[in-house]
Each structure stands twice: as structure tokens, then as C-alpha cells.
């Protein structure tokens, strides 16, 4: 269980890292430290705290937290490698490590090349994938994942399909949002809920198009989440492991839409803008958890032997007691 607790700690640290990254873009501090991997010529860990001022506070702070998460991920990958009998879990640990290393390199490149939209968006997109990996590891190492619930695992192919589609749509929506954010299109349509006073933009520019796509995407994601949550509540309302993430997903998407509206009305207030980033990440993570739980029956069939091996010590103890 310590591995599971540690994996949850890494996930929580990743939430903090995404908040820090959101603050960098929300405060437009991405280039406040012009060099990388050094910071104003200092080794980044030796950078004097007294110089953590203005935009440097956000950008250098993001780098330090990222380094911390990188270190935590190394430990997580090694721990999984040493302690996990499930080979695919070992691979997942190293995948997370690879993702965090690549993420660091992307972060450096985007600074050195003055935040090109493609690289900055890739940095934002990979951040979500890394977060999903840590969430998945946390889930797969949990006791609830590795024990058969009363009534067995839910086997609903429709739920699996709709949950996968919802998670994919949430991720696509985050990518569109990141593109909007990094192409400075956050206020390309300045009013809400209308669009330049109407329903469609009177003119189309790349920035207006990406902004409009994000708004339209929000509607699609909202409908997808409503469909998934509705399916869960109607067919599996008694199953807490599905009902809870479904209800949380509805709360998160409503919060996210409200935050999106307030970004426009507040003209990109830093706190609201950053809250929108992290709520997006939490929406994706929650949708992923629901999707993985909907697929649990498939994992069980594929890895029953692994689960038995993992649970063997506990089973032995309980057998001895009996």
C-alpha cells in the first residue's frame, strides 16, 4: 500500500506542477528566464532566492517543481520495477519517466525558441499525458483495483465505448484549449455567451477559429459527459466505483464551463485562467478513472495470474488465520 500512497503523492505533485505551468502562461512569464537549463547563468538549483521576482518567480518556480516531480518519478519507476510483478506496470513506470524527461526537454526547447505555438502546445499536451500516467499508476496500485468487488466487475461494452469516447474528447478539447492559449487567442472572441453579438463570428481568422472551436468543443464534451454520467447512473447507479467519478465528472465540467465564461468576462484574470487549466486536467483524470474502471473486467481476464501473485501474501495471511 505504500507504493499506492506514493503514487498518489506523485499525482498530487503533478497537480501542483500543472498549476505552476498554468501560472507561467497566465502571467505571460514563459520567457522571464531566457536561458535553459541554466537560469540567468546559474545552475538552476543554485539560483539565489532573492532573485525570484516578477515573472522569474513563476518560470523558475515551475522549473524547480518540475525537477522535483522528475525526481519523484524516477523513484516511482524504480519502485514499480522492483516491487511490481505485473510487467506492464513496470513498463508504465518507465513510460511515466520517459514522459517527464521528454516534457522537461520540450519545456527547455520552447524557452530557447521563444515559445513557438506547436512546441508550447505539445508541452501542454504531454503534461496531461504524464498526469494521466501517474493517475493510472495510482489506480492500478490501489486495493480496490486488485480485489474483486461483491457482484463482480461491471461488464458493459456500451459504457466502455462511451467512456473511451468521452476521455478522448476531453483530451482533444484540452489540446484545442492549449493551442488557443499558446497562440494568444484567449480573447479572440471578446464576448460570451454570444460571439461578436451573434451566434457565429462575422469574420474568420486562425485565432477566432481556434477560439470558436474551443467553445464548440465545450458543448460536445458537455454532451459526452452527460451521456456517460447518465448511462452510469441509469444502469450502474448502485456501483459506487462508477457513480462517484461520473458525478464528479459532471461537477467538474460545469465548473470548467463556468470558469471559461469568467475568463472572457474578467479578460483573462490570472487566477481564473489558471483554475481553468487545472480543472481541465482534473476532468480528464476523472474521465480516465471512470474509463479504466469500466474496463476493469478486461484487465481481470488478462492479468488474473498477476493479480493473484500481487495479492498472494495477503491471501496467504488470511488463509493462515482461517
Amino acid at each position: 500500500m505504500w507504493l499506492h500512497r506514493y503514487a498518489k503523492f506523485v499525482s498530487a505533485a503533478t497537480v501542483l506542477l500543472i498549476v505552476a505551468g498554468g501560472l507561467v502562461t497566465s502571467t505571460e512569464s514563459g520567457l522571464a528566464v531566457p536561458d535553459w537549463p541554466t537560469s540567468y547563468g546559474w545552475n538552476m538549483f543554485a539560483f539565489p532566492m532573492k532573485h525570484m521576482v516578477g515573472g522569474i518567480f513563476y518560470e523558475h518556480g515551475h522549473r524547480l517543481i518540475a525537477s522535483g516531480v522528475g525526481f519523484l518519478t524516477i523513484v516511482l519507476a524504480l519502485w514499480l520495477w522492483r516491487a511490481e510483478s505485473r510487467k506492464w506496470m513496470q513498463a508504465l513506470g518507465f513510460a511515466a519517466l520517459g514522459a517527464v524527461i521528454l516534457q522537461g526537454i520540450l519545456g527547455g526547447i520552447t524557452v530557447l525558441f521563444f515559445l513557438p505555438t506547436a512546441i508550447s502546445t505539445a508541452h501542454a499536451g504531454l503534461a496531461q499525458i504524464f498526469f494521466c500516467l501517474t493517475i493510472s499508476i495510482s489506480l492500478f496500485t490501489s486495493r480496490s483495483w486488485q480485489s474483486l468487488p461483491a457482484g463482480g466487475w461491471v461488464d458493459d461494452s456500451m459504457l466502455r465505448r462511451v467512456a473511451i469516447a468521452t476521455t478522448a474528447l476531453v483530451y482533444a478539447q484540452i489540446l484545442v484549449g492549449a493551442t488557443m492559449r499558446h497562440s494568444n487567442a484567449g480573447l479572440a472572441i471578446p464576448d460570451f455567451p454570444l460571439v461578436f453579438g451573434g451566434l457565429l463570428p462575422p469574420v474568420w481568422t486562425p485565432q477566432i477559429a481556434i477560439h470558436f472551436a474551443h467553445r464548440a468543443g465545450a458543448l460536445v464534451v458537455g454532451l459526452a459527459i452527460a451521456a456517460t454520467a447518465g448511462h452510469v447512473l441509469y444502469h450502474h447507479g448502485e456501483r459506487a466505483e462508477l457513480r462517484r467519478p461520473a458525478l464528479l465528472l459532471v461537477c467538474l465540467v460545469l465548473t470548467q464551463m463556468t470558469l471559461g465564461a469568467f475568463i472572457i468576462w474578467s479578460k483573462k484574470d490570472v487566477a481564473i485562467n489558471t483554475a481553468h487549466v487545472i480543472t481541465g486536467a482534473l476532468t480528464l483524470a476523472t474521465s480516465l478513472v471512470l474509463t479504466l474502471r469500466a474496463h476493469r473486467v478486461r484487465f481481470g481476464a488478462a492479468s488474473a495470474a498477476d493479480v493473484r501473485a500481487t495479492l498472494a501474501p495477503a491471501l496467504d495471511r488470511s488463509g493462515a488465520r482461517a
Partner: protein, 260 residues
Amino acid sequence: MHSRLLALPLVLAFLAAACGGGQPAPAPASEAPAAAAVDPATAATLNGTVSFEGAAPANVGIKMNADPVCMKENPTPQTQETYMVKDGKLANVFVYIQDGLGGRTFTAPTEAVVLDQKGCRYHPHVFGLMVGQPMTILNSDPTLHNIHAIPGTNSEFNTAQPIQNMKTEHIFKSKEEKVVVPFKCDVHGWMNAYAGVLDHPYFAVTGEDGKFSIKNLPPGTYKLTAWHEKAGTKTIDVTVAAKETKEDANFSFSAPAAGN
């Protein structure tokens, strides 16, 4: 350092694909043909005033509390320098000859233009320089600045200046298509400056009285443009005869419509 080197080919390949290889940079001014002489005996002068019609919008307030050094340097409430209007005259307007010089070429001065970061502000806020002319960027503050230029034609640069009195030299190698290059400090988000980069010396920046003067101009008909960071650009046609001092090359700006 190694990861940076490893990343470089990847990024260069990406940029090459995205930019289609780019255009070769024009030769620096020092390699240009010898300057066509302007006959001092016939040279004209263009004087004018830039006015501001109506009430100028209030400049946005600045919170410098992100950096104690900036707070100490500026203990009183501070505002942006967007609309510097006094008695209806507008300062910090970059005025330049946009067209009419024909094929004349001009040699860049060897004297450097100095952009100073002092009191967590850029000094000057608006200035001009020629392609090939050296520019010295100075950090007079006892705090860190990054100097981040965002040209359209020349290469973008972002240079660290962590030490007081640190100097960085820079030369723009090409004429800027949009003329004006914005500068910003990403550490102190309120710091911004603008440089007009031209291939000729016929430009000026209005002072507090809104006046400007462009001297040593060959007789001819020109398009004269005035640029302001928020109010936009205006262009007029002017004709100067030999040895003429024209006094009425005037411009008038007003507040841009809401939302601009």
C-alpha cells in the same frame, strides 16, 4: 548542455519545415553600396507637431510590488507610458519617411543607440535606429532584467541581464517590414519599449511638446508616417523644395475606438 545540443537538430528541422527554409537575410548595411551623397546645399528640413484630439485615455496603473527593487526605485504610484499627452500634444510618436527616397542608400552611424533599463523602465520608451547601427542595451538597475525583442523581419532575441551595469550589444541586420520592433521584459510585465528600424536616417520621435524635426532631407515628395503604440499610424504626403524648412508636417491622433 548536452540535452540542449541534442534538441537543436530536431527543432531546426521543425522550424525549417514550418518556415519553408526562410529568406536569406539582406546584406548588412556595412556591405551596402556607398551612400548616395545628399547635397547639404539643397537639403531640406521637415518640422511638425503631433496633436491629440480629445481627452487621452488614462494610462494603466502599474503594480511594481513583484520586485522590491522596482518598488524602492518607484515609491509613488506608477502608470504605463502609453499616452504621454501634454497641452494636447502627443509625445513618443515615431515619425519617419515611409516612401520617396527612391534607390538611395545610406550608411548607418557607428555611434550606438543606448536603451537603458533604469528604475524598472526602458529609457527611451520609443526610439529609432538604422539597420547596421549598433545598439547598446544597458541594465542600470540592481535587479535582473531580460531584454526580449520581438521583430517581424529580424531574428527574435531574449537576453539575460542579471548583473547591474551589464551591457549587451545588438545590431539589426535587416529593415523591419513593419518598421517598429517591440521590446519587453518578461520579468517585469509593465516594461515595454519600441524601436523603429529603418534603412535610412530620416526619422524622429516627438518630444513632450509633440514636436519633431527631420533634417538633411533631399528635396522631393515623400510619404511621411507617424506611428503611435496604441493610437495607430497616420500617413501624409509632403513635398519639400531645395533648402526649404517645412513647418506644417502635422499629425493628429485620437483615442482608438473601444475594443482596439
